[in-house]
Symmetry: C2
Subunit: 254 residues, 2 copies
DNA sequence: GCCGATTTGTCCGTATGTATC
DNA sequence: CGATACATACGGACAAATCGG
């Protein structure tokens, strides 16, 4: 639950924008007026507005005001932003999500795995392959590797429900940061076996490294998505000098 | 040039992290000490640190400190983050970039174009197809549509160099916000004609809408990238309650 | 073109809350 | 429990951009 005041204001403004109370192209009340409206300091308003800007709801214009640029076009059913788990996302969007464990084993990181995942050579790992279904359709092939020392006593049963729930609520691990990388890769035999690909010979692949509060990278995951159900959104803001996104970087390998 | 103090500090910290002065896993000096080091207020330090966190350089831990989680692995040659133009990115990375204009024409938005781009039906547009080469290799097919009213007197010559340079420096347009969407799509005949695709029958497609300071969406662009040279990065931070990214949202269309 | 009112951008100092050790 | 650290919030000051008279 959001107890932080700036987050309450952020949500209220967001709701008013989505519901059309503040219309597309309209200016929000000035910061001074929002201060009065919400009974808080200007800094608090500014934090809320900054969040909205970073999500593409508004653009703030020096000397003019804050303009709404949200258009209801972009409504989407399913969000993979943040570090939400598949379960959490599905529930939030009232979709029927199921998971099948295709492979559950333990292994030790060799040079090849280390190269790909970032785990040191010799790390003891859980290796898991899971297929994610949404309304019965196989959409994602997840390949997880967990550091055995951290994700203690992981079982196939836990993998079939929610690993994140187990890590956070049973083991008490605090998940903090996740670095993600998106690429497009050719399908493998495993992909073709489990996902019902039509003509596509490629997948959208999100590789991520997750860190706990000890700063240890304890998880490497590859989510291999069917192209026809995959979409990823973000917003960038141009600064005076030149560049500047909001934490996103798209790169070409060499 | 960055005259903002928090930006100076941000860059200095970033540099010290990249150069290894602050090592992987190490804690930064506490906010109190950074205040002394840089001779500024705590708010300013916090802004700088927040920027670093949103880019995956550090993770800040309540009651503990700010830990460096940057690893030099992720250095990449070419950044498309922010609203940088192809030219700007290439120059910054000392790569030999060239552009060929494959098509330059004017057209009026019909129902189909409006649906795809977001321009109202009947809008007068410039329609441009360009192929982007890096070190001689055709990597990107760019399809641009500009609102004629805003991007006045665009010519094929300008399209061959830098449209953004023309818009900003000649026309004096201020580019503010850009919304982007990433999908994976099957290749078209045009893709195959210009890009040297090997076995891939898909492309990474970034569709973006760009707004000027009048809040007018004046540009719609599709950048169709060869998969083998495409990569997109971001960082997410997990909040207490549950979700939260940093402005990124990945979605499943229904 | 200038000036003043409005609005956002940056920065400061301080106080209080909360998590860690 | 106390010391340390980050998180949130407040109020005030000045700068910079915009717009109207």
């Amino acid at each position: 639950m959001p107890k932080a005041k700036f987050e309450e204001i952020y949500k209220d403004l967001k709701h008013k924008i989505e519901s059309g109370e503040y219309e597309f192209q309209q200016l929000l009340p000035s910061e001074k007026n929002l201060v009065i409206l919400y009974g808080c300091s200007r800094n608090t308003i500014r934090r809320a507005v900054a969040s909205l800007a970073s999500e593409g709801y508004v653009q703030s214009l020096h000397g003019i005001g804050v303009r709404v640029i949200f258009q209801p076009v972009e409504q989407a059913a399913f969000t993979i932003g943040g570090i939400e788990s598949f379960q959490e996302s599905a529930e939030r969007n009232h979709l029927n999500a199921t998971t099948k464990v295709a492979c559950f084993m333990e292994l030790t990181a060799d040079e090849r795995i280390s190269q790909r995942s970032g785990f040191p050579v010799g790390s003891s790992l859980y290796y898991i392959q899971r297929i994610r279904y949404l309304d019965g359709k196989p959409l994602i092939l997840d390949i997880n590797m967990f550091l055995k020392d951290v994700a203690k006593d992981l079982t196939e049963e836990i993998a079939a429900s929610s690993i994140y729930d187990y890590l956070e609520n049973t083991l008490g691990i605090t998940i903090v940061t996740s670095k993600r990388k998106m690429t497009v890769e050719l399908t493998t035999q495993i992909d073709e076996k489990y996902l019902e690909l039509d003509d596509y010979n490629c997948l959208a692949v999100i590789s991520s490294q997750t860190f706990n509060s000890d700063g240890i990278m304890f998880e490497y995951t590859q989510s291999r998505h069917r192209p026809d159900y995959f979409c990823f959104q973000d917003t960038a803001v141009r600064k005076k000098g030149g560049l500047q996104g909001n934490g996103n970087r798209g790169n070409y390998g060499v």
